[in-house]
């Protein structure tokens, strides 16, 4: 009984808060039509980063079928992330991206920078409504802020139904603007990381010589065209084409690449540099099929871009309902990508420096898979509780560049294991 009272109070409180945001007053009728989804998710990589993300999303359907979605996301990230340098048979010392201090990595270990601590707050709003006969329009915005990063975006979408709503065509556009302001400034592309005595009076001057400014920005335009088709009573299919063009700063200011001698020994660490233009095309197909025993959700995505990255993503979920309203949903996802043309695991010191280079395994050749399980149950009054547990495995691979000298003895492509755990409550 106590629980029930608390639950109602929470909903009333959130409703009041949402109404305050909207400048309207909470009354009995609005109270009933807000639907809230809350979730907390924990992502943890073995020996690397872990992130906790909390979401609260409210949806209100108005009396003329207008729908308002508001969402607040907060996430906190801590832990260690690969800095891009290769492992070595000897210990290595690196300067922190901020210039404040250094860290040392053991012999044979993939160098990880453990200075990642960030908290992000994100606000999302979306308004969707019918317009004329057969049209649905939607506009939305998004703003997120973390210590060294800001992102803002606006989007618009229009959909038209044909053929008794069996066919829907949609077109959308989104514009995003991101600003990065890393502590310690923007490193000069391909300049060598200063790794001297941090207490040396000249250290700060030397460090500053590798900096070219305090912030950088990028803008993204996305176009999305989709067809949704009802096939029969059990089956629906969606096909999307999306075009995305990004211009501006896409370099990761925290990433470096090892410059090695003929024996594979690191002589310097250069700050990476990526092109400032990227154009992507993605084709996405999804189907949902209602079998007698459950619902299959299968999708495939192909992406190709002018960095020469091609990727394929396969995703399968199968929701099995039980007679008591509970359900179980196994999930399997498979992803494979080819390397960006400027990806290299290391640079040979005596070769000419390329214009663009990155040793970030996330734009190298990479295979990943995810297996997971979701379990959900109704809690009465239309409320739902669900748990999700997934295992995510990343296998970075060689793009064909041969390891030389001592690099043959170390692991250049370390695999990563991660666990995703999530609890969702809807009321």
């Amino acid at each position: 009984m106590q629980l029930k009272v608390n639950k109602t109070n929470l909903k009333a409180m959130l409703t009041t808060a949402s109404c305050a945001l909207l400048g309207s007053t909470a009354n009995a009728s609005t109270e009933e039509s807000w639907q809230f989804d809350t979730a907390i998710m924990h992502y943890a990589e073995v020996d690397r980063v872990s992130a906790t993300e909390a979401i609260i999303a409210g949806t209100k359907t108005f009396n003329n079928d207008e729908v308002l979605n508001l969402k607040v996301t907060i996430d906190a990230l801590t832990g260690a992330s690969p800095n891009g340098a290769t492992a070595q048979p000897t210990p290595q010392t690196f300067t922190r991206p901020s210039g404040n201090g250094q860290y040392t990595v053991n012999a044979g270990d993939t160098p990880l920078d453990d200075t990642f601590h960030d908290t992000r707050v994100q606000l999302t709003g979306q308004w969707t409504q019918p317009l004329l006969k057969d049209y649905i329009v939607s506009v939305g915005g998004n703003f997120s802020k973390e210590y060294d990063y800001m992102s803002a975006s606006l989007n618009g979408n229009v959909a038209r139904d044909f053929n008794k709503k069996n066919t829907t065509l949609s077109a959308g556009m989104s514009f995003a603007y991101d600003v990065i302001e890393p502590e310690g400034g923007i490193p000069k592309p391909l300049s060598a990381m200063v790794v001297g005595d941090a207490d040396d009076p000249n250290f700060e001057d030397d460090f500053n010589k590798t900096r070219i400014g305090s912030d950088e920005s990028k803008s993204t335009i996305d176009l999305l065209f989709g067809v949704t088709q009802v096939i029969n009573r059990q089956m629906i299919v969606q096909l999307n084409y999306s075009y995305s063009t990004v211009s501006g700063y896409m370099t990761d200011p925290f990433k470096i690449i090892s410059s090695v001698n003929h024996n594979g020994e690191a002589q310097a660490y250069l700050y990476e540099n990526r092109p400032d233009e990227r154009t992507k095309h993605a084709f996405f197909g999804q189907t949902k099929y209602h079998f007698d025993s459950g619902i299959l959700d299968a999708s495939y995505r192909f992406m190709t871009d002018n960095w020469q990255i091609d990727s394929h993503t396969f995703d399968f979920r199968y929701l099995i309902p039980f007679t008591n309203g509970h359900f179980i949903e196994p999930h399997f996802r498979m992803y494979t990508q080819s390397a960006a043309e400027f990806y290299q695991p290391f640079i040979a010191q005596d070769e000419a420096k390329p214009n663009f280079v990155s040793a970030d395994y996330r734009i190298g050749e990479l295979d990943t898979y995810t297996v997971g399980l979701k379990y959900g149950m109704p809690m009465g009054d239309g409320n739902n509780l669900s748990f999700r547990l997934e295992y995510y495995h990343q296998t970075p691979k060689s793009n064909g560049i041969q390891a030389i000298g001592v690099l043959k003895e170390v692991e250049l492509y370390e695999e990563v294991d991660a666990i995703i755990a999530q609890v969702t409550y809807s009321f």
Partner: protein
């Protein structure tokens, strides 16, 4: 030049596909009163939007591809 060519081919391909799709569509589909299964929440294309947004964030941070289902957009400086 090569990229432009691929782009042109892809656009042509997608236009042809959608034209074929549309003309075939009138014979597909259901009557409005036959949507009992399709009307289920679980049959929505994005039936778990919260899961989808959390997943998008994870894979956006770890892989070189984002979007497709919906907008890829900007994002975070996440590692």
């Amino acid at each position: 030049m090569k990229v432009v060519n691929i782009y042109k081919r892809l656009v042509t391909l997608s236009l042809v596909c959608s034209a074929v799709g549309l003309s075939g569509c009138t014979s597909l589909g259901v009557e409005p009163w036959e949507r009992d299964l399709l009307a289920k929440k679980e049959m929505a294309l994005t039936s778990a939007p919260i899961d989808a947004s959390l997943d998008d964030h994870i894979y956006f941070s770890k892989e070189a591809t984002s979007g497709g289902r919906s907008f890829g957009g900007g994002g975070c400086g996440c590692n």
